[in-house]
């Protein structure tokens, strides 16, 4: 059962987290890094970006570290790849073959892509390193239910649960995680998740 942590409450009351490390979901990472500057002139998104930035810069001082998984890195890479294509060809449909051809033959296209790839490398090398658990086999597929969650979310949860309990935290805005029966901390700014957790007594209350 997911125990929900209200990230706004953690920030407002300067509370500590019950984990030593947490994993970041792709949706949070995209809103935080905002690779294409999509939040400019978007009040709601800017506010969300600020809340995430504040939250992610807070736990550093308390020793809590943020991590990522390979599945998150792949999802983020796809987001950059497709988003970059659309910034260059806003009226076209994404085509993997066209993307590959441009990457090989068009130095301007390649140069622009490199700017985003530098960000990608920095995120997953330094800010939220990919934490892998190589010693055990992780069964990603046995209990995967496509109607319950996306495979990316499922793979993230499975990777997190393969680690020690002190890392069982996921920072996400995605309500699908709430439906999992496994024990972990769901850190979120999503008011719908927080309201549901409050009514179902699944909200983390730090004394």
């Amino acid at each position: 059962m997911a125990i929900v942590i209200d990230a706004s409450d953690i920030l407002a009351k300067n509370k500590s987290l019950p984990v030593e490390g947490f994993f970041i979901d792709t949706n949070i990472l995209i809103c935080y890094k905002d690779p294409f500057g999509a939040s400019l002139n978007n009040v709601k998104q800017t506010k969300y970006n600020n809340s995430i930035t504040q939250f992610l810069n807070r736990p550093k001082s308390s020793g809590v570290k943020g991590y990522s998984t390979l599945s998150v890195a792949i999802e983020f890479y796809k987001y950059i790849q497709i988003g970059y294509f659309y910034t260059q060809f806003p009226n076209d449909k994404f085509e993997a073959k066209k993307f590959k051809d441009l990457k090989e033959k068009d130095s301007d296209f390649r140069g622009g892509l490199q700017t985003y790839f530098n960000l990608f490398k920095k995120i997953f090398n330094k800010e939220f390193p990919i934490l892998t658990k190589n010693s055990d086999k992780i069964d990603y597929l046995n209990d995967f239910d496509v109607l319950k969650a996306d495979f990316g979310d499922h793979a993230l949860l499975k990777s997190v649960l393969a680690h020690d309990k002190k890392y069982h935290g996921i920072f996400t805005g995605d309500a699908d995680f709430y439906n999992y029966s496994e024990e972990f901390y769901l850190i979120t700014f999503n008011n719908k998740i927080i309201a549901k957790a409050t009514s179902e007594k699944k909200l983390y209350l730090n004394k």
């Binding site: 792709t26 949706n27 995209i30 809103c31 935080y32 890094k33 905002d34 690779p35 294409f36 500057g37 999509a38 939040s39 400019l40 002139n41 978007n42 998104q45 800017t46 970006n49 600020n50 930035t53 504040q54 810069n57 988003g83 659309y86 910034t87 806003p90 009226n91 622009g112 700017t115 985003y116 530098n118 960000l119 920095k122 330094k126 805005g173």
Partner: protein, 118 residues
């Protein structure tokens, strides 16, 4: 060269809100009228958000029609790590892309909304 100490200008080491970005934007516009080159000293800052960068440097490029090359000719930085500079590079690059899309008559509000996760 005019030197601006960011933490003094913003009166905080945390560079988070778009409003703080707009304070820097206003100062940059005013100083660029008087000086050809500006040095921005970030010494003592704790962190910045992408919305701070978008609303200061990104908006400056859009408002004054400044190219990537011109931006770095006019403005230099101190007190920042290489990673911080990379983030500024990205902001300036994104401003150029946004301007290009506007020129191509793309509805940018609609376009960028599509790039935000549901």
């Amino acid at each position: 060269m005019k030197k601006i100490t960011i933490v003094d200008l913003i009166q905080s080491p945390v560079l988070l809100s778009p409003e703080k970005g707009q304070i820097l934007l206003k100062e940059l516009k005013s100083q660029l009228e008087k000086s050809k080159k500006i040095n921005l000293d970030f010494s003592g800052f704790k962190f910045f958000s992408s919305s701070f960068l978008n609303n200061s440097f990104g908006q400056l490029c859009l408002d004054l029609n400044i190219s990537e090359k011109d931006f770095f000719n006019k403005i230099s930085f101190s007190g920042l790590s290489e990673d911080d500079i990379d983030e500024i590079n990205l902001t300036i690059h994104n401003a150029q892309v946004r301007r290009k899309l506007k020129k191509e008559d793309v509805n940018v509000d609609k376009f960028y909304k599509k790039l935000i996760p549901a």
